[in-house]
Symmetry: C2
Subunit: 600 residues, 2 copies
Amino acid sequence: MPVYRAPVKDTLFVLNEVMGIDRYANLPNFANATPDMVEAVLSEAARFCSEVLAPLNRVGDQEGCIRHADGSVTTPTGFKSAYDQFVEAGWPLLTAPEAFGGQGMPHVLGMVMEEFLNGANQAFAMYPALTQGASAALLVKGSPEQQATYLPHMLSGKWGGTMNLTEPQCGTDLGLIRTKAVPGADGSYAITGTKIFISSGEHDLTENIIHLVLAKTPDAPDSVKGISLFIVPKFLVNADGSLGARNSLSCGSIEHKMGIHGNSTCVMNYDDATGYMVGEENKGLAAMFIMMNAARLGVGVQGMAVADAAYQNAVVYAQDRRQGRALTGPADPAAKADPLFVHPDVRRMLMDAKAMTEGLRALCIWGGLQIDLSHVAATEEERQAADDLVSLLTPVIKGFGTDKGYDIATNAQQVFGGHGYIEEWGMSQFVRDARIAMIYEGANGIQAMDLVGRKLAQNGGRAVQALFAVIDGECAQAKSNPALADVAERLEKANGEMKAATMWFMTNGMTNPNNIGAGAHHYMHIMGLVAVGSMWLLMAGAAQKALLAGTGDKAFYEAKLITARYYAERMLPDAGALRRKIEAGSDAMMALEPAQFAYA
Amino acid sequence: MPVYRAPVKDTLFVLNEVMGIDRYANLPNFANATPDMVEAVLSEAARFCSEVLAPLNRVGDQEGCIRHADGSVTTPTGFKSAYDQFVEAGWPLLTAPEAFGGQGMPHVLGMVMEEFLNGANQAFAMYPALTQGASAALLVKGSPEQQATYLPHMLSGKWGGTMNLTEPQCGTDLGLIRTKAVPGADGSYAITGTKIFISSGEHDLTENIIHLVLAKTPDAPDSVKGISLFIVPKFLVNADGSLGARNSLSCGSIEHKMGIHGNSTCVMNYDDATGYMVGEENKGLAAMFIMMNAARLGVGVQGMAVADAAYQNAVVYAQDRRQGRALTGPADPAAKADPLFVHPDVRRMLMDAKAMTEGLRALCIWGGLQIDLSHVAATEEERQAADDLVSLLTPVIKGFGTDKGYDIATNAQQVFGGHGYIEEWGMSQFVRDARIAMIYEGANGIQAMDLVGRKLAQNGGRAVQALFAVIDGECAQAKSNPALADVAERLEKANGEMKAATMWFMTNGMTNPNNIGAGAHHYMHIMGLVAVGSMWLLMAGAAQKALLAGTGDKAFYEAKLITARYYAERMLPDAGALRRKIEAGSDAMMALEPAQFAYA
């Protein structure tokens, strides 16, 4: 059975030595996060995830969720008990506001917790993640009464939450929504419609489930401008806070998916169900985007986390399994064969995985920190700068992070050879689970368009210019340091490719917007490569500093320097190729008619 | 349910207009393959594959194979009937020697048939493919008596065949084999051992199954030099050719796999089973390689075929599903949304798939033709040249072809958004099925090492020098043609990257062989990119010729020219990045100790 050890050491390195979060100690929330407290929290989270959740990962895959004739859903064996422990330990409250009983820790720690949960058990992690997304929307858009009624129980994990966007005829294009919301005399609405792909839509983990549902009021404009958001609880809540009548909504079926079997992905039927509008009429999409942006970053974390879990198992297998001999002569002459670990092509897959997961981890932590800073930094200027950068990088972390996460999981499976294809080994599950992260919360093509079609141009390109400047500054500083110069030079070159691609869009996008769409995917990947590269430069700098100081784990820091070099040599060259693809434009891509694709 | 239409038109274009097989009409086998005959054969094969096999593809995935308490195995509903039709129509005999009742058609047509079978139903296709591989070994290494006893029924498909190499402790490294073969008084051997991952190991499609098993005789050297090959029939064959006693071998279990559920992947237990040595003692590996080389090319075809099937469905879905609006303004203003087809990022995935599958198809057909020529070309020089090229390119077609096949299937699934993740749509199956092709018949890392560690250097690099020269010659000729010049120039540049990478290996491999291993994967991909690029140059040339002549389907030929350009612009730039990765060498890749990969 696969193992998972949450990367506490690497996380603390990034938080303390790379990001230096102690410099934010005077900011709200961060005061709670003293170094000792952070280490204690992460160690305990790691223990829970590795010991309680990880052993249930394959159980969830094998058993899946079962829908009964009455529409109720049973989660896999052990999930309920694990969830109870999760709630009892107070984990859902880690970053929740103190006003609602939360622990008020910085958002970045919630992001780390999300990594550990997903690395251990992606299907399980989705239950609290959806609740958190729904809570985030209510925290910003809910009325004081709605917040008082729902948030304490949602934030504590006692109640679950969901996001209901997709319908059979509409996924990306929410203007096509058909679910209706008819106002009643008491101010509530009667919600009728069918929603599909509803993660955690029905289950036995919580005593109530608060569905957030997008629907259209009778006179709403027939477009995305006519969508409103509604709270539709599974059980209505009485005035005294106790659970009331069962609402007229139900799980119609559970989808048969490629992976994440342990999460109940439901078709949800609403049949004159009682709902309560959140925020203003026809402004539902804005509220939904609050959930979505946090969720997108979370999905990027998820892609990296599952890749890391797969990679950890590949590292173990490569040392355990013996086949063939090292190219340089037997490494273990006494044995009949050497471990796979001696073979360069195996090492390539492990190093690719190490370089990308550790780099993405740093980028995700950096992103989580920017979210904190966008809320609590001392000046408006700092808050704006943090918001600019994380808004720009959110689609990149989601799209690039999950594309790479899937590649890494696939390579980790490859290390196992034929055994990787056999379900018992668990490597197939990592690949099948990782696959969804490229699709949900906006398919990666949507992330790419969000990046190039919206984020790049916002405020006259302020955010991307800031990113260029940050990276150029880091490179300029590092180039004078012989231990970092090579990495810095390669990063500067890749940043140059990104600048050139950006310029190409500016020059060629006006005349034909398809030129931007045609390069969107590649641009998202250039930015991902460069952003992760900048994290490697920072990590290398922090590692070298520690080595010079002679403190801590020498082998760990040396590995950081070597992996930074590996990343620069083996990953950054792709930036040039991606730029050339972008500069090819859209002519050949868009030239063919539908019939020209079929040739049978 | 997914559809599949075998690409007859594209195949005929490649065979007739690109490869010009009519120029071989005077060679043995090719005389049987008149243009009319080829078209008739392919059309009928396409009908059978699309109408009979494709509808069973999802059935096979859902039902899988069932092992009963007595060790017998039932294939999925419909497989037996389809197999009977397959045999009755004589398909297995298409390229079999006329001396054994075969139709004696050129090998290249068998390769096309393999594509159609795999595009329709990979799990089904593996049953005859394994039989064909086993037959190929007996055709070369079997004694006349063995050939007479087994081949007629195996070639006709009445009996099945398998390859038994892998054991729990050994996959790639066959020197670790433990299965024993003890000689008996009558010249037969008693075979005892356990083999795993045996495709088509036990099933209900044929009345007998002829297992080819690698085992060690009692005094054999304890290495790959001590392996012998044995025929171990499920039912022994009486002197009169009738079936005799049941041999003491059985299917111990069926593996639970990520995909190809319709194929019975068995653990096979041999318990003093009666076996007959094939060829010489301790020379079993050579015989096995006869099967393996043909099988490797076949697996490359398989990767491309499954990718093509996935792509075909993505093309249909992209025209059917409507979400959002074209970036250039509504393409269908009367409807509420445009088809996915208008979105550049969707078109990117479709064009990537078209450019790669059509290019790989041409390369596979070219490879099949080289195999024919290596046997029947008029002069020893021509036979040698063909053998050189196909030997060099076999690991590339297998490794690069299946890597790309998996990417294409994944992208085709991505076009479906959330629906792609739901099993009912069938896109998940394509991905799960395509995944195995990167692993079996030598994992792709082994293919890469076969290429750089063996094929490159053979005969002083004669084969790769010939490849350079062929491509340079094609480029030089095409550059003077304005319609082809741009593609030719880009291909020439990519060929230059491949030459430089080759030179780098020559210079840096002697001092440290890890430098070769570290670049093997990337080199395999450069050669794949360039080889497919050369096919696109040939296809573009043929298309332009047809357009100038004004014959045939104008839209088809124009699509070829545009897709050639797309390939050159969007795929070939990777060659430069791959070269730079190779030139990074093995230092950073091999520097870390095992403990430096773990950081929990």
